[in-house]
Amino acid sequence: MNGKRTLFRDRTRRALGSLVGIVLIVSACGTAASPAPGSASPAPSTALASPTEPPAVTAEPLPPTGPGPNGGVIVRWFVGLGAGGQPQQLQAEAEFVNAFNASQKEVYIALEIYNNNVAANILKTQIAAGNPPDIIGPVGVEGLNLFRDQLLDLQPLIDSTGYSVEGVDPKLVDFFKLGENNATVGVPFATYPSFLYFNKDLFDEAGLPYPPTKVGDMYQGKPWDMDAVRELGMKLTVDASGNDATSASFDPSNVVQWGFDMQYADNSPLAEASLFGASSFVGSDGKTAQIPEQISIGEKWYNDGVWKDHFIPSANQINSDLLDKGNEFESGNLAMNESHTWFTCCVYPAAPATPKIKNFGFAIAPAYKGTITAKLHADTFSLLKSTKVPDAAFKALTTLVGSSELLTLYGGMPANPAQRDAFFKTTDANFPGVTLDWSVPQAMLAYPDIPNHQSFVPNYAKAKTAWQAFQNKYRTTEGGVDIDAELATLKTTLQGIFDEVAP
């Protein structure tokens, strides 16, 4: 009897012990941490119970099959490859999706928003896990390049639905023929033409007239071209003693103000040299590396501008306190900056810092040999080939593209001219007391760089690191480099990189 009791106690103890052990194991391995983004979970949906709740980045899971809560076909929209991942944008995106889902019963958009820094890797992981979204965007040319052979040709859907964007320049429609075999992988949504931002105060201080704001206008009786930019840039470059770069007393080792740069050009020689004409590092056969003349001429102009004429800052100067550690124009010490409409984001520092620039304006991009090339950035939405619901996804895509709320939210200049006024007013409100001439960016849309400076080359991500290294080298090598020799080396390197992925 006694022995049975002991046995019973032992078993109870053992059972309890096992239970505790199991609990420990489960609690250790099954923590209530939030699910990893990009995991192969069912499609998440927007989950804003009320406007006061913080927006969800990835929201509650939906059933993997079957209709969404509104009875419509579930279409997953992946945000983060371009604009859209900023904290202040999440709420508005979720509200837009909720309103759309409530307005009809055919399509249910399930929104997924990721931080831009990780979005590309998360999308890759989702594709690898067999759980890709249906729509990606807003996304620019470079983002599309990374997933080029995963993108659906939209032309059959455009033809079958009769979709058209009224009033949009046909050049912009063709701009998105970026897929394999020139497939249409996007429709015009937001555009970011490039032009010159100039600091009016620095021009006033030097007693120089502002650069032209109309195509064809001259500057001080001469054509507004790259030679004029060089000359003007040198006059606006000043050393600590107040001498400009055209003066014999100018001290290049002690510069405090520079004339020109193409800020935030992603260390790309293609972007820099685009002012001299559009070009690509790959030949028309799509596999042979080439160094177009525009690149050679353009990079020599920059190399001399940094090290001989000193009106363009070197990498060390850009990263110094004098040029706000990289935000050159915002520092107030750069007179002219060639950039896109999205750069309005960065003319003033984030609050509560006080702007260093009091007054600035927009000017026409300079010509080279009589031809203007204003490099273009453009955002769109794309469908992945893997989508199982192309018709519903295309319907959702056209809704996104047509939304003026989203255009304003992402800060892109609408491709459709009829929608632009709202964008201009919103942007103007950020710069009280400053008059911005919006005819300049609109005029520049007529001079896009085709081929685009971000257009596809084989093994794109690796090729990009090679041309960035070239750009970094000439900007960091004291005295400059032999551009022809460096470009010859780059050509060999690029050919090796292209050959790695040759079929």
Binding site: A128, T465, A469, T477
Partner: protein
């Protein structure tokens, strides 16, 4: 002995062996397994599992963006590494940096520990805190601060050097000066090693120094003959950890060059190259192969250090 007593004594062989978990030591073992169970499961699922998976991946051409095209390629990835200029360059960069950074880090952390262990130093605790504090700052943030500090135009370091009439070098963009610059940045983070060395120094019996002093030993001799031998297990630990950390060097190089390995691939450390191949270029299979190369290199070097240290490290209480 009575018949009754004899009847109670049964040979063990007739009773049978007790079950292992019913003995006291068995129960201890069982409880031990229960308590380390969560960790063991974590080890298998989160460490061993991914390691095996990466080994399998390294034998494929797995590309994140084209998962359907995955196929077994045998040892192709490993063969390719032998002729890949980026892999060869990254190995050269990593070894070159290790040769400079490991002795500098070890020497500086031991030197700082010796200084902070000195009874003559006033405010020792304040200095110990100050030396340790940089460890608390996130690496990316501290690297950004260093980039500003080392800038040729407005950086403080070249301004200080310039004060003596000498033009400072281009620390970040020169292939020659980038390693000293990175070593300098590394010195900022010696707090952990310094603390471990300090603990080691404080465990050296003071009687040994007193006896040596009576025998007329100089400070250098005491350092060489007492401190170093008694600190040898700690120094071995420092060396192994420094080696592992150096071969996994990534954050500073990535932050300074946006992952490109500038200038001219001088900071293309093997871990950075691995990251680029696997995540930037999406070649997960090739990236996994580089990861295994890194693992083998670190393992071989660590084993080599342990073999070398067998007769050179003094363990109190051991027979060596």
């Amino acid at each position: 002995m009575s018949d009754t007593t004899e009847a109670l004594i049964v040979p063990i062989s007739q009773v049978g062996r007790p079950r292992w978990h019913s003995t006291p030591s068995g129960r201890e073992r069982l409880w031990g397994f229960i308590f380390i169970g969560p960790w063991l499961i974590g080890l298998v699922l989160l460490t061993a599992g991914p390691m095996i998976a990466s080994l399998v991946l390294s034998l494929t051409n797995f590309d994140l963006v084209h998962p359907d095209a995955v196929r077994f390629v045998g040892i192709d990835n490993y063969v390719r590494m032998a002729s890949d200029p980026n892999v060869l360059k990254s190995l050269q960069v990593t070894f070159s940096f290790a040769i400079i950074a490991i002795p500098v880090t070890m020497g500086a952390s031991l030197g700082a520990a010796l200084l902070l262990n000195s009874p003559k130093l006033i405010g020792r605790n304040v200095f110990r805190t100050l030396f340790y504090m940089p460890i608390q700052i996130p690496l990316v943030a501290s690297t950004l601060v260093w980039i500003g500090f080392l800038n040729t135009e407005t950086g403080w370091l070249n301004a200080i050097i310039g004060f003596f009439g000498v033009k400072g070098p281009d620390w970040i963009n020169s292939e020659t000066w980038i390693y000293p610059a990175l070593s300098l940045i590394g010195l900022w983070g010696i707090g952990n090693f310094m603390l471990i060395n300090l603990a080691g120094l404080q465990s050296v019996p003071t009687e040994l120094y007193e006896a040596a002093r009576i025998d007329g030993a100089s400070a250098w001799k005491m350092f060489r003959r007492i401190t170093i031998p008694l600190m040898s297990p700690i120094l071995l630990y420092d060396l192994v950890i420094s080696l592992v950390v150096t071969f996994q060097y990534f954050t500073q190089a990535y932050t300074m060059t946006n992952g490109r390995g500038d200038p001219n691939h001088a900071t293309l450390f093997i871990n950075l190259n691995l990251f680029n191949e696997a995540f930037t270029f999406s070649r997960m299979g090739y990236g996994a192969a580089i990861a295994w190369l890194l693992f083998v290199i670190v393992m071989v070097l660590t084993l080599g250090i342990f073999l070398f240290a067998r007769k050179r490290v003094y363990y109190a209480g051991s027979d060596r």
